[in-house]
Amino acid sequence: MSDIPWEQVDAVIARWAPRGRAGLLPCLEEVQSITGWLSPEVSRRIAEGLKVPLADVFGVITFYGLLYDRPVGRFVVRVCDDVSCFINGSREIVDACRSYLGVEPGETTPDGLFTLETHPCLGRCERAPFMMVNELEFGPITPQDVPRILEEVRKSGAGQEEEGV
């Protein structure tokens, strides 16, 4: 985890630096897609490159649900547990993920592969119950689909954003 591809990270920072602070959010998003999460040393590099106070960079990272200031799995499993998905059985989907992965929502598997999250409405209510793995979309699904989906994801090593890691 500690070998950060600095060359790639610096290239992203250099691209956003001319926008200064208005480049911060897209820069954080892009860097995270390379590094998986925004560690203090990565954050410092971004703060320096964009000339934004480090405290403000931390402030922004902690504000947003999709930015992580701690390591997460290579695959983030987001199960929608909001009203329409709940009505269509999201609780059973969450349970199927918990039992397949052996972790609770908010936790990461010991091999660092999967993080499980329950999520407010993901905006795909017509496909309820719905879940995402990184940017892949699955729904409507049944609890029986869950092991197959997660197994396939594991095998494919998918995660379109993970190139070069």
């Binding site: 602070r21 504000f63 709940f86 407010p120 409405c121 905006g123």
Partner: protein
């Protein structure tokens, strides 16, 4: 009334190809707009009676006129594509199915108001919409529909795309500006309003995706045509996101005189397994529960007002009798407690207290005092919160309890 204006190309054209959009009438409206003076375009939008589709229902033409009047430049047009209101997915369907229409609406807004830069702020979880819009902007710029000297005129307009990062409150217009500016996405005190002090402190038009998608057909067919669709108070086509316990969940287009019953029974194929409606959440988590006795109200502002609701984002979430309403209310209370940005006390503390009380009630401990506390919280958050998130955080809880027969008198 059933219409097919906003969805006419969705599923019919290849959203990755500009040629397809153009072959289906795309950018004709922009061409037509460019032949007129900007004031005339603003006038047409004003005369159409189009009101914003993002939830607040502000007259679009009035907003544009205010920005057009500002002399400070640069001015901005911002497309609010953050769509995070639970139960709402119509903007996603538009962006995924007809992305160029959103760009055309933005370009017309920019021409009408004298804006030179555009921003689209897309919800972070909408990867496909983002990719399609990205490609649409590139193609439209290459072809001269965006960028410098558009279609040979002296009008220039450049579009940037930002991705949100998972915060509901960033759909609030001023929080969205803060977010683009690289800050924590917390709402600003209003006034000043975006029309004078918006993105980067400059005059800004901010409109919802669906509002902007209404603009090209409105310009092509004229204000009179637009006004002929649906009720006087809110004319034009409207998208409804219908989901929950229905047979055919999806996005449906109709005028705003359509009733809740028609949306559920005719458009969405009725309640699943032949069941019965227990409650319908209209307008998402920020919205209001309507009971089974009130399904014949029209989805217009005046219609829904009769039952204490409003159309909001056009979300319709159907709860059938199989579902335990406490589980539903618990999710809504959790949502607000989680999404409150913490900038002001009534909402920061109120949404936490509300969650504690609803959790207690959901576990079976019903105390009269808790009902009173919830009512008090609702009134305090509504009256004293800085932004719409806090102001609406108690709506669904209070109205949900009413539908469950735990009615409390109105204050």
């Amino acid at each position: 009334m059933n219409t097919s204006v906003l969805l006419q190309r969705v599923g019919q054209v290849d959203p990755t190809r500009l040629e397809d959009y153009v072959a289906h009438g795309g950018f004709d409206a922009l061409r037509r707009a460019l032949l007129r003076r900007p004031e005339k375009v603003v006038e047409e939008v004003k005369a159409s009676g189009l009101v914003g589709r993002g939830g607040a229902a502000f007259p679009t033409g009035v907003k544009w006129e205010a920005v057009a009047r500002e002399s400070r430049t640069p001015k901005y047009v911002v497309c609010n594509a953050d769509e995070s209101e639970p139960g709402t997915f119509k903007d996603r369907v538009l962006m995924e199915g007809d992305p160029f229409a959103v760009l055309e609406g933005m370009a017309i807004a920019a021409y009408a108001t004298g804006a030179s830069e555009g921003y689209i702020y897309v919800r972070g979880e909408y990867a496909r919409a983002y990719t399609l819009l990205r490609s649409a902007v590139d193609q439209a710029t290459q072809a001269g529909f965006l960028g410098d000297a558009i279609l040979g005129s002296d009008f220039s307009f450049h579009v940037h795309i930002y991705r949100g990062a998972g915060a509901y409150v960033c759909g609030e217009e001023t929080a969205l500006f803060e977010s683009i500016e690289g800050k924590r996405g917390q709402p600003r005190q209003k006034p000043p309003f975006p029309t004078t002090h918006g993105l980067f402190g400059q005059p800004t038009v901010i409109n919802n995706v669906e509002t902007l998608a209404n603009v090209p057909p409105l310009i092509l067919n004229g204000a009179e045509w637009f006004r002929s669709l649906g009720p006087e108070e809110a004319p034009g086509p409207k998208l409804f996101s219908v989901s929950g316990a229905v047979n055919k969940p999806g996005v449906y287009e109709a005028t705003m005189d359509v009733t809740l019953r028609e949306l559920i029974e005719e458009y969405a194929g009725g309640v699943r397994d032949g069941g019965k409606v227990q409650a319908v959440l209209v307008g998402g988590a920020a919205g209001t529960f309507v009971g089974p006795k009130d399904l014949d109200v029209p989805m217009s502002f005046s219609g829904l007002r009769r039952v204490g609701a409003s159309p909001g984002s056009g979300a319709v979430m159907v709860v059938d009798e199989r579902v335990n309403m406490w589980d539903v209310l618990l999710r809504i209370a959790r949502f607000f407690a989680h999404e409150s940005c913490g900038k002001c006390y009534p909402c920061r503390l109120g949404t936490q207290r509300q969650l504690e009380i609803v959790t207690r009630m959901a576990s079976g401990a019903l105390r009269y005092k808790d009902f009173l506390r919830l009512q008090d919280l609702h009134a305090t958050m509504r009256d004293a919160s800085l932004c719409g998130l806090g102001q609406t955080a108690g709506n669904a809880i209070i109205s949900g309890l009413k539908v469950m027969g735990m009615g409390m008198s109105d204050d």
